[in-house]
Symmetry: C2
């Protein structure tokens, strides 16, 4: 450690969750003589908010587990004092800050006492608050958000006492989906999942990928209401009426999980620059528009790999930001780089993960895209208990830069997203996918990883072998089913012409050159091969259905 | 597809497994008018050799599954003719090749008929043969290697007919380990695993990491004999005596799995350049020393990320090489880049994976290294059924370039190796680890991925907080146990001074500044924190034990 770093700074951090505490601990580690105060208006700090749905579900017995280190010590102010040398003050609100005079007013919410504290450097780690749309009452005994340990305790106590048999979850993002599982799988509660967009997990997935999750949720008896904007929630005799612009849903309770908004009251009061998505604007040093004020956590905007900015409330990023702010406070040059936005969520037996952007998001920024799809075994297809995964890769139609990967299914998807996310951060193009290396053994993956196969499919598409989304199967033109006789008879495709791929080379003439042809096989591999043959024979209007029948039929 | 590519080449490929067939299929795809002949001396081609141990174990019912496409079509010559337009000749040996005249003699092993074929381009995909050390009889009814479908069938039929109750496995590489599991777990056979080196999986792991696997194998009743070089195998009345330089092991049967050697007879006859590790020398175009001859598969040497060459018999690489050779034949500029050597193997309930090089390998090339270790939950520590993983990261002591990662345990290790392998290929340094992005949700990983934590530990080590291998705990000096009272009493460490980390800040003076101090906690996290405190207080000779008690006690 470079002793010259050890400046004696007075640092104040606002917000005692992952980012703020990590920034403080890191700064203290690098500058042991500095004095660091962390204030938080809440009583319970430093809890693993991402674990709360698993407390609700019963997977975790007590919320205390979410506040403990892995060796069972409670992460309370005393812990941070003893282990990290930090002065953490709970139930303490930062009410006003003068960044020029470098003073901040903090108020103890028990005693009401307010004091003015000076600082050399300030860190805003104020996070985000759940957003409650207009028309939904706040502080209602049957309606709440799901963000705090208190929220989780209240919901679980209703479950444990058998008060709750039916709930509406408003919003089908990560938390909405996790709650749908928690209420249903463990407690047998009837769930209505209400989503404003035309698909679940709308930030993460395009429609045809969301459809896979929707099917799975419905199999678990979750009722999904899409394209339903909640207009108001009314009390009824024995519960609530959730009134949307399409239908009214009767329920007992409602959880609002439509997303979060950065907490920027203090930043605004200080006159800091706010970005266009409503988060504090920072540079790659995580420095705000005031040079002595840093930001970390969901209160700020990050820069995405393609240059756009966004508020991305991901715990993985908050932790990284904390260390970087700590470094910066100590004069180190560590940067917070662009992010791909890799994320994952468990939805019953389905694993869902994504990185980069979807085609929907790309369209919003006028980025021209093409995509490929595939259904894969997550390990060698002959290995027992192999599970299917459904994947979609999005790339830039002109530069062939990889833009995103969406992966869902019962099999292993997260590792593929992790590998692809880091390739996206390196500005990877399609051809770079074929240079990726994967540890291979039959219990873990096919000899050619699904990512490799998707990359090759995309390159083949650029050579003329065109894929089409499984959601776009059209009754126009010819549907050519190239599955085996057995596969085709077991799960017929209405209106399709059936020619098994083994016979196709000799029977291509049977198909009208002038009609559009869509080829279907189970996973998209055989049909891609068949599409190539037609392409070589000069057929002009042939596509294969990416992901195949397995994705179509979901 | 660029029609100008479609040259009418005559191509001969020697070797009809993954690399050769993929090269041929790719070339035919790009140049439909070319004439491509693939010869192989065997009858059974294109089988998933990596799956054979799972046929032996009974996980796979018939070896036919290893020869089928995922839709159940047998990959025989007819399949390759119909689906790929290839002329595949089995039971056909390439006996002689004149690269200047571009002729190759091929002999049908049934009819004995030999013909001379001309070619424009030749591909050698001759693979590798199992090596049988001197002193071990070949063609012995109780001794064989394990490479072909025939081998697997023979062994399995002995198991099914109850002839085999005891077997010696010579060699503890991937195949040796997989066979140990197959014989033991499914068939209850007594296994003696004999290894020449001082550890199992010697190509993959350093000693302290191998030790974890050895413990696990022994718990499954596999008897391990390390540092035992087999000198000869003798017949006995009812079996075999495996005579090593240390002990003699009585058994019924012996499988030889000490590794493979590139098959380079034809390459030698042709006068092609052979590399120093005994494989065909190729450049990044996979071109041999003769410009019209390409190589792919385990018969050739690849270039590792740090510049050294090696024969790396990994199925994942062979498949990639095939496509690249196909591209090259068609005039495309695709390159086969350097490799990290990512690999994985299942050993009973343990997942084992590695990428890059171990410290043992680095030492062989005089590369100065340092390492960090850690024991981690593979998901959020509060999430049910989290499993431990043990990791070691090796980096260059001067440049801080990442050299390798070794990861074993019941939890998810492969994805971490996949991510790290690709970072190694990008010449990643320690600081780059902290920029990696991971999809995070409690069921899949901790908020800070183990890789991130290892990266931070390595950077802290460079700042002065030194780690030590769990294998090096010394009775010299002080062993300081900073676990909780309960942890310490449940699993005491002999001779250790116990001060729980919560009390340590106030009790550091109890420890003699002049003695070396080794700090132990369960996983290496608390002890690293404690080591930093001593470092800050000016103690000069303090280390923490990487991976902690959990790794030590294995």
């Amino acid at each position: 450690m470079n002793k010259s770093e050890n400046r004696e700074l007075k640092i104040v951090v606002v917000g005692a969750s992952a980012a703020g505490l990590r920034a403080a601990a890191r700064a203290k580690r690098l500058m042991p003589d500095s004095v660091i105060t962390v204030v938080d208006e809440r009583e319970i700090i430093s809890y693993a908010a991402c674990g709360l749905p698993y407390y609700l579900s019963g997977d975790i017995e007590s919320p205390r587990a979410l506040r403990e280190t892995s060796w069972g010590t409670l992460r309370n102010p005393q812990f941070f004092k003893d282990a990290k040398g930090l002065d953490v003050r709970i139930l303490t609100t930062a009410t006003h800050c003068d960044p020029e005079k470098k003073t901040i007013n903090i108020r103890n919410n028990i005693s009401g006492k307010e004091e003015k504290v000076t600082f050399d450097k300030l860190v805003l780690a104020t996070g985000a608050s759940p957003f409650v749309p207009p028309g939904i009452p706040e502080n209602h005994p049957r309606i709440s958000t799901f963000k705090t340990v208190e929220d989780a305790r209240n919901w679980r106590s209703k479950l444990e006492t058998g008060q709750l048999e039916k709930v509406a979850i408003i919003g089908s993002g990560f938390i909405g989906i996790e709650l749908a599982e928690a209420f249903t799988a463990m407690w047998g509660v009837e769930v209505d999942l209400i989503e404003m967009e035309d698909r679940v997990l709308p930030q993460m997935l395009d429609g045809e990928m969301s459809a896979l999750i929707e099917k799975h949720l419905e199999e678990q008896d979750v009722r999904i209401h899409k394209t339903c904007r909640v207009k108001e929630i009314r009390d009824t005799d024995d519960g609530l009426s959730v009134v949307t612009d399409r239908e009214t849903i009767e329920t007992e309770y409602a959880v609002v999980a439509v997303g979060v908004r950065p907490r920027i009251e203090l930043a605004r009061q200080m006159g800091l620059k706010i970005g266009k998505y409503g988060g504090i604007a920072v540079d790659e040093n995580l420095q705000t528009s005031h040079p002595d004020v840093y930001a970390a956590s969901d209160c700020m905007e990050v820069e995405l790999f393609y240059g756009e900015r966004a508020v991305l409330p991901l715990g993985s990023l908050a932790n990284k930001q904390g260390r970087i702010v700590g470094d910066q406070l100590a004069g180190r040059k560590t940067k917070f780089k662009k992010v791909a936005g890799s994320a994952c969520v468990k939805a019953f037996d389905y694993n869902c993960a994504s990185t980069g952007i979807s085609e929907t998001q790309a369209a919003r920024h006028n980025i021209p895209t093409r995509a490929v799809w595939g259904t894969f075994s997550d390990r060698a297809h002959y290995y027992p208990e192999d599970k299917n995964i459904f994947m979609k890769m999005v790339y830039h139609a002109k530069t062939l830069q990889i833009l995103g990967l969406q992966a869902v299914g019962e099999g292993e998807v997260v590792k593929r997203v992790d590998v692809m996310g880091n390739l996206i951060l390196n500005n990877g193009r399609l051809e770079d996918i074929l240079d990726l290396e994967f540890a291979y053994s039959p219990p873990y993956s096919p000899a050619l990883d699904p990512l490799y196969v998707l990359g090759a499919a995309a390159l083949n598409q650029e050579d003329g072998v065109l894929s089409r989304s499984p959601s776009l199967l059209s009754k126009e033109g010819i549907i050519l089913d190239v599955r085996t006789k057995n596969e085709s008879e077991t799960n017929p495709i209405e209106g399709a012409i059936h020619i098994p791929i083994e016979e196709l080379r000799g029977r291509m003439d049977e198909l009208d050159r002038n009609k559009p042809i869509q080829i279907v096989c189970p996973r998209g591999a055989r049909s891609a091969e068949a599409a190539r043959w037609f392409f070589e024979e000069g057929y002009k209007n042939v596509v294969y259905v990416g992901g195949g029948w397995l994705m179509l039929s979901k």
